[in-house]
Structure formats: structure tokens, C-alpha cells
Symmetry: C2
Subunit: 237 residues, 2 copies
């Protein structure tokens, strides 16, 4: 994959940085697969796949530790300044969010899995549409990173509102189910937790989009109002 | 406060690093106050205090951005290696967790606040005991950082199990309430979310304890089994 970082960085590091970024994208690829398989496991009530997902999380954790070590090593060896350093620091933040998305994915699977062997499965179905939206959001932010595209990152940033809306709709619906049939409360609560995890994955995608903008534009847009982010994106590179 | 970092670091940086660490502890102090006041606001149904807490979160966010800038500046200027760099990278991770704890605190207050003006308030009471435990855990990890005490950090690490147990107890209790009186479901759900936020703050304290151990011992203990962490702590500095 062409990482297109050459125009953003100065001279000699580009190989090392490309190597690191390519590890980040590998890690992201595993996380993407985990989310997709989690939705499949939930949709198909597939316990075996659920087990596999929980086991695979170790790989994501190992990537986080590995890439963090790379970050420290490259900083110590290359003593980078300005743009190079910014890329490394952004990478450190991105992988922390990727790791958390992995955790939330496992949490979602564990919560849903409680009901794979029971007859009442209809509640899990509500999750799928929101899940697909979150998966698209994750793919889009990974793609924005791979293409070093701050506008695309900002598109992901804005998507989070849509996810939050879907989340509110589902939780309201689930509460209605609980009120209609109080005996179903424990199992609906598990679906509630799974939905919550999905919503948090959306938040993490938004965080990653902020790091991608920082990486490209050199401006920290966390906690910034929309107008400021848009002004930063409009400014010349 | 004596930060006791001099014995851990090499030569000339100590002033800059002490300055950064002191900012981290200032930030931590604000977060600690936010948690304490959140529990007070919830216990006293104090809407005004709740508003203040939500407003004050901006300060925590600003500290995160400021200290991140300091990290980048000190790395670029000083080109630190080995231990010095480790401290800076650990600081970057610690402040990310502090910021998330600030967010969870606001989330907890917002969820609980929904019921400040209603007559049924008994559910919020269950939260307080767990809240005090989490507050102690937070204080302890901040103290371990200030004193550069990896053993104390590990004590905090182990505390998270206790918090998880308290969390399970409360959620089970809340589910019972919901089943007994389905009309109370929406309000109990808000207490459920507040409890969840507390549980996540406990997780974050555990993360910070891992970063403190990394900072002092130079070993990444995230995702490591207990025996490995204990071996690292037992090894000579």
C-alpha cells in the first residue's frame, strides 16, 4: 500500500515511519476483522466464532506493545523534530484507541454471547444495523489514515453523531421491551451493554480521526469547536 | 511536593521533567476533586454543583492538550534517550487516562442528574459506597505517581478486582429493582450508566498504575500476567 507519507515528512526517516505506519494499518486490519466477525457471531449466534474473537484480542494487545516500543526506539535513535515527531506521537495515540476498540469488541461479544443458547434472540437483531454503521466508520477512518486524508478523517469525525442517534434509538427501544416484559430484563441488559460498546467504538473512531488530523495538519483538534476544525482543514498545508 | 524523580533520571532534564510531572499532578488534583464533587453532587442531589463539574471538565481537557504539547516540545528540544524518554511517554499515556476519567465523571454526573428533581432517589444511594472506593483508588494511584512508588502502584492495580465486584453487586441489585417495578426502569437505567462510569474509572486507575510501573521499572506490564508483574517489581531497580 502506498502510504503517501513522503510528502509530509522530512528526509531520512521515511522508511522507518512507513514501517511503523504499516504496522498500525496491520493492527487496524485485525481490529476491523474483529468488529466484522463480532457482528457476524452475534447475527449468527455463533459461539465458536465468539470464542475465536475473544482469543484473537491478544494479537491486538501484542501489536500495541510492539508499536509502542517502536515509537520509543525510533525517537531515541533518530531524535526526530517537528513533523516526524508529530507522526510518531500521533501513532502512539492511534494505537491506544485501536487497542480500546479491540477491548470493546470483546466486551460486546461477551455480553451478546450470554444469549446464544437461548431461544429469545430477537433483541440482538436490533444491534446489527448500528453495528454495520460502526464498522463502516472504522473502515473509513483507517482508510483516511492510510491515504493521509484529513478531509476524509473529518467526515468520519462527523459520523459519530449518527451513531449516537442510532444508539439512543436502540436503548429507548430496549427499555420499552424491558417494561413490557420484566422477566426479560437480565437478557436485555446484556444487549444494552453490547449496544453501549458499539457506541464507544464510534467514539474511538472519532478520536482516531482527531489524531489523523493532528498527524497531517499539526494542530490538536481535540475538544475544539467545529468551526475551528473546519478552519484548520481549510488552511493550506 | 518532592517528586523524587532525581534518582530515576539522568542529569540535565530533571527540571523540565519535574515541571511536566508537576503539571500532571495538578491535572490529577483537578480530576480527584471532580470525582469527589461528583459523589457529593449525587449524594446531595445538588444540581448546581453538577453543573459546575460539567463545566470544569474543560480545564482537564486544556491540561491534556497543554501537557501533550510539553511532551512534544521537550522531546524535540532535549532529544532524550532511555529513561528520560520513558518518563515522557508514560506521562503522555497517564494524561490520556486522566482525561478519560474526567469524561467518565461528567458522564456519571449527567446520568445521575436526570433524577435530582424527582422524588425517587434511593437508587443513587447505592452508588456512594462504590464511589468512595473508586475515589480512594484514584487518590492512591496519584500518590504512587507522586512518590514514584511502583509497589504502591501495584496495590492500586490489584484494587480493580474489588471495584469490579462492587459493580457486579450493584448492577444485580438494580436489575432486581427494575423487575420489581418496571415503571422505574428509565430512572434505574440512568443509575446503571452512572455505575458503569464508576467501574470504568476504576479500569482507568488500573491503567495509570501500569503506566507508573512502566515509568519506574521500564517494563511494559500491560496485558501481562500477574506473576510477570510481580517478578518485575521484585527485580532490582
Amino acid at each position: 500500500m502506498d502510504l503517501k507519507i513522503d510528502k509530509h515528512i522530512s528526509g531520512q526517516f521515511s522508511k522507518e515511519l512507513e514501517g511503523m505506519l504499516s504496522h498500525v494499518l496491520d493492527m487496524g486490519g485485525i481490529v476491523e476483522q474483529q468488529i466484522a466477525q463480532a457482528l457476524e457471531a452475534i447475527g449468527q449466534f455463533d459461539s465458536k466464532l465468539a470464542q475465536k474473537i475473544i482469543k484473537e484480542d491478544e494479537k491486538i494487545n501484542a501489536y500495541e506493545v510492539l508499536i509502542d516500543e517502536e515509537c520509543a526506539r525510533v525517537i531515541a535513535k533518530r531524535q526526530p523534530a517537528a513533523i516526524d515527531l508529530r507522526i510518531i506521537l500521533a501513532i502512539a495515540k492511534i494505537i491506544a484507541d485501536l487497542e480500546r476498540i479491540g477491548d470493546e469488541t470483546c466486551r460486546m461479544v461477551r455480553a451478546a454471547q450470554e444469549h446464544f443458547n437461548k431461544t429469545e434472540r430477537q433483541f440482538l437483531v436490533d444491534l446489527d444495523h448500528m453495528g454495520q454503521q460502526v464498522l463502516q466508520m472504522f473502515k473509513a477512518v483507517l482508510d483516511a489514515l492510510a491515504r493521509m486524508d484529513s478531509e476524509a478523517a473529518y467526515d468520519v469525525y462527523k459520523l459519530d453523531k449518527k451513531i449516537d442517534k442510532a444508539y439512543e434509538g436502540i436503548t429507548r427501544q430496549l427499555m420499552t421491551y424491558m417494561m413490557e416484559d420484566p422477566r426479560s430484563i437480565p437478557k436485555i441488559m446484556d444487549v444494552m451493554w453490547a449496544t453501549r460498546s458499539l457506541e464507544r467504538i464510534g467514539d474511538r473512531c472519532q478520536n482516531i480521526s482527531e489524531h489523523v488530523i493532528y498527524l497531517i495538519k499539526g494542530k490538536d483538534v481535540r475538544h475544539a469547536p467545529t468551526e475551528r476544525i473546519e478552519a484548520i482543514l481549510a488552511a493550506k498545508k
